[in-house]
Symmetry: C2
Subunit: 453 residues, 2 copies
Amino acid sequence: MAQKPSIPKGTRDFNSIEMARRNYIFDTIKDNFKLFGYKQIETPAMENLSTLMGKYGEEGDKLLFKIQNSGDFLKNCTDEELLGRNAVKLTNKMCEKGLRYDLTVPFARFVVQHRNDLSLPFKRFQIQPVWRADRPQKGRYREFYQCDADVVGSDSLLNEVELLSLIDRVFKNLGIRVTVKLNNRKILQGIAESIGEGDKIIDITVAIDKIDKIGLENVNKELAEKGLSEDAISALRPILELTGSNEEKLAVMKCILKDSEVGLKGIEEMSEVINTIDCLGHECDMEIDISLARGLNYYTGTIIEVKAKDVEIGSITGGGRYDNLTGVFGMPGLSGVGISFGADRIYDVMTQLDLFPKSLEQSVKVMFVNFGEREAAKSLKYVAALREAGVPATLYPDSAKLKKQMTSAAADKIPYVAFVGETELDKDAIMIKNMETGEQKTYTLEEAINLLS
Amino acid sequence: MAQKPSIPKGTRDFNSIEMARRNYIFDTIKDNFKLFGYKQIETPAMENLSTLMGKYGEEGDKLLFKIQNSGDFLKNCTDEELLGRNAVKLTNKMCEKGLRYDLTVPFARFVVQHRNDLSLPFKRFQIQPVWRADRPQKGRYREFYQCDADVVGSDSLLNEVELLSLIDRVFKNLGIRVTVKLNNRKILQGIAESIGEGDKIIDITVAIDKIDKIGLENVNKELAEKGLSEDAISALRPILELTGSNEEKLAVMKCILKDSEVGLKGIEEMSEVINTIDCLGHECDMEIDISLARGLNYYTGTIIEVKAKDVEIGSITGGGRYDNLTGVFGMPGLSGVGISFGADRIYDVMTQLDLFPKSLEQSVKVMFVNFGEREAAKSLKYVAALREAGVPATLYPDSAKLKKQMTSAAADKIPYVAFVGETELDKDAIMIKNMETGEQKTYTLEEAINLLS
C-alpha cells in the first residue's frame, strides 16, 4: 500500500526553522495588538456558505473551498439536476459549508451574532489562516494567514491614528523600513465631483495610478477614451502633477476641491490624522498618495497601505475605514476601521533582507551527549534542573556513536554540548563545549545554570 | 438581504476571555514542549484524500470532511454513476482533498515526504486544529485542537521517561492534580499468551477493564461467552485481582508471566520506565493500570493515559509507543513514541476547578478617559509612553459621556482608569483610579509607569 506522499498544490508544510521565523512575526504583531488594547477572537475554519456567498463578488464565490455534506450529499438533487451538470447550482445543493476566505466577513458575522455580549466600541484582533482556490503561483498560496485588527462602533479618527502608531511600532520591531501611504476615499470622490465627473471615480483613480508608468499624455488619452470631457481632463491636471510634502499636497488639493463638500471633508480628515500622528511621533515615512485606491468599493474614509522600502514587493499591510461592515447581516450603520498585516509577504521581505535573528535557528540551548545507562541517568537529572531554571535542554536518547550525536547537535544549531562521562560522574561535574568557539570547560551544575541561563 | 447569521453545528466562536484562557493552556504546553527540545512543525489544513483515506478505519473515512474540487467537479463522473447515487463512490470522484482528521497521519506523511531533510531521532511538536464530521454533543466538537509531541527514530525508553516528565510539568504548571496511568502492550499480549489465549487479547483487555464496574463473576461470565476455557479464566484471576503498589504489581505479574518472553519484555520495559522517572522525581501519581488499552491496534509498547483527580471526565492526555508510523507511506521500521494533550477537556477541567488566573480576564492595564480633543491629544502621548514601557494601554476613542466610558472599562475588567482633564493638563499630571479599591491619586508620567509596569 506504499504511496509517495505529497500535499495539495498551493499548500505548505513548515519545518521548525520556518515555524520559529513565522512565530517571530506573528508574536511581534500579536504583542503589539495586545499592547494597543485589541482583544483576540477566533472563528471556525468552516462557515455556512450562506454567510460567505455573495460577499466577495462572483469571482470570489468561485474561489471558496466548499465542503461536501456528510452522508447522502446527493439527497437535495433530482436526477434531472444531476444530468444537467450545472456545477454552480449543484455545489449549492451538495455543500452547506465552506472554508473561511478572509477574516472580515467572519468578523462581521461574529459582531452581529454576539451583538448583545459586546460593548462598543469593540477593538478586536484575529490571526488565523484563510483559504482561497486561487491558481497557485510564486508568493500566492491556497492557505495563508491573515493578521487583522479592527475597531467597530467608533467614528473617531483617533482610531486611524492608533492603527498608524501600531503599524509604525510593528515594523520598527521587525526592523523593516517602510513607507505608509495614506489616502481618503472622500478626497477621490471630491476630485471626481469637482471636475464634473462624479460617476467616473474609478476610471479617474485608475488613471491617477498609472501616471508614473505611462506618463501624463497617455493617461489623458485613456481618460478621453473613457468619455471624460476635455475640460475635466484639464481640470484634473494639477492633481495628476501633485508633488511635494504632505502639507503642500493638502494645500493644493484644498484649493482644487474648494467647491466639493465631500472633498473638503476628506481633506479635513486627512489633515487631522496626519497632524495627530506627526505630533505623536513615528519612525516610518507617512505619505499622502492620491493614487491609492485599494478596496475602493469597500472603504469610505481613510485608506492605508504599507510598502517595504528595500524590497520590490506589493503592499505588506493595508486597511481603511468602512461604514457598513455588518449591514449585510442585518445590523446597519456600524462604522469601523481596520488593518491587515500580510504575514507571508513580511516573511519574504525579512528573508530577502536577512532580518531574522540568528537565535531563531537553535532548538535548545544545550544537548547532553548520551554515554550509556549510568551517565544518562545522571545527565537526565542535570537536564531536569536546567529545565526547571527555564533553560531548554535535551539528552540524546540513544547511546549512539559520539560522532552521530555531535552531528545531530550541529544540524540543530545547538550552541552548547554537555558531556557527563565517567570522569565527570565521579566529580559531580559537567564538561560543556561552546560549539561556536570550540572551547571546553568543566562546570558544577550551578555554574552550568548560570552559563546557560 | 438581511439574514440571521450562525455557524455550523459543532463549531465554536471564541471571545477574548475564552481566547486568553485557551492561550494560557496552549502556551503552557508549548513552552514545555520547547523546554524539552521538541521542534514545532505545521502541516496544511487540507491533505490529499489519498493520504487520509483508509488510515482511520471505515468509520473514520466517513467522518472526514471532504472538499469538493473547484470548477467542474462532475467531470470524472459518468451519467450512470450520477444516477447510481453511490455517495461513497461519487465523493471520491468529486473530491481530491479533505480536512486533517488528526495530527498523526499528517506527521507520518511529513516525515516520509521530508525524510532527506530530517535528522533522526526527530522530536517534533504540533498544535493545530483538526476536523471530524462526528455527531456534535456536549464536549465533542467538529473542530478542535490537538497538541501532540512525538519522537521518531529512537527505541530508547528514555523517550518515554521524558514524555512522563513533560506531562508532570505541564499539569503542575496548570495546577491540575492528575494520575498518570501506565501500561504496556507487551504485558497484555503476555497475559493472553500465558493463559493460552494469545488471539483473544482484545476480549481479555475489555474484560479486565470492566472489573470495577461489573465485578469478577460477571467478567468471568463474559469471558466464557467469548470462548475462553475454564483453565484460562482461572489462570487470569490473579491478574484481575491485581492490587498494591507498582512494585507489588510488577512482582506478581513477573511471576504469572514467567513463561512468556514478550510478557517479560513488557515488564522489563515498564520497570525501567518507572524506576527512571521515580529516580528523576515527579509530583503526579504514576500508576500501573493493566486495564489500560487505548489504541490497542496501534500501540506496540508503553501506553500512557492521564486522568484528572478532581473532575469526572475522560482522559485529558494520552499516548504511547508505536512501531510502524510511516510504513503505510513506504518507510517501514520507524519506531516512535508520542503523547497528545486534549486542550478542550483540559479547558473544561480548569473551568470546573476555577484554576484560570484572574489576570487573564483583563484586556489592558489602564484605560485613559477621553475628555475631548486637547485632553485626548495629551493622553495619547501618555498612552504611547506606557506602551513603550511595555504596559498595555488604551485611550477611549470617543469623548463620550463619562459614565459610558467607565462602564466600558468595567466590562473589560480594566484594573486602572486614568483621567487627564483640564486640571491635570495644566500640571502635566495623570489622575489614576484603582478600579478594585476605588482609590484615586495623581501621578507624574514616570510614577504612572512605575505603578503600572
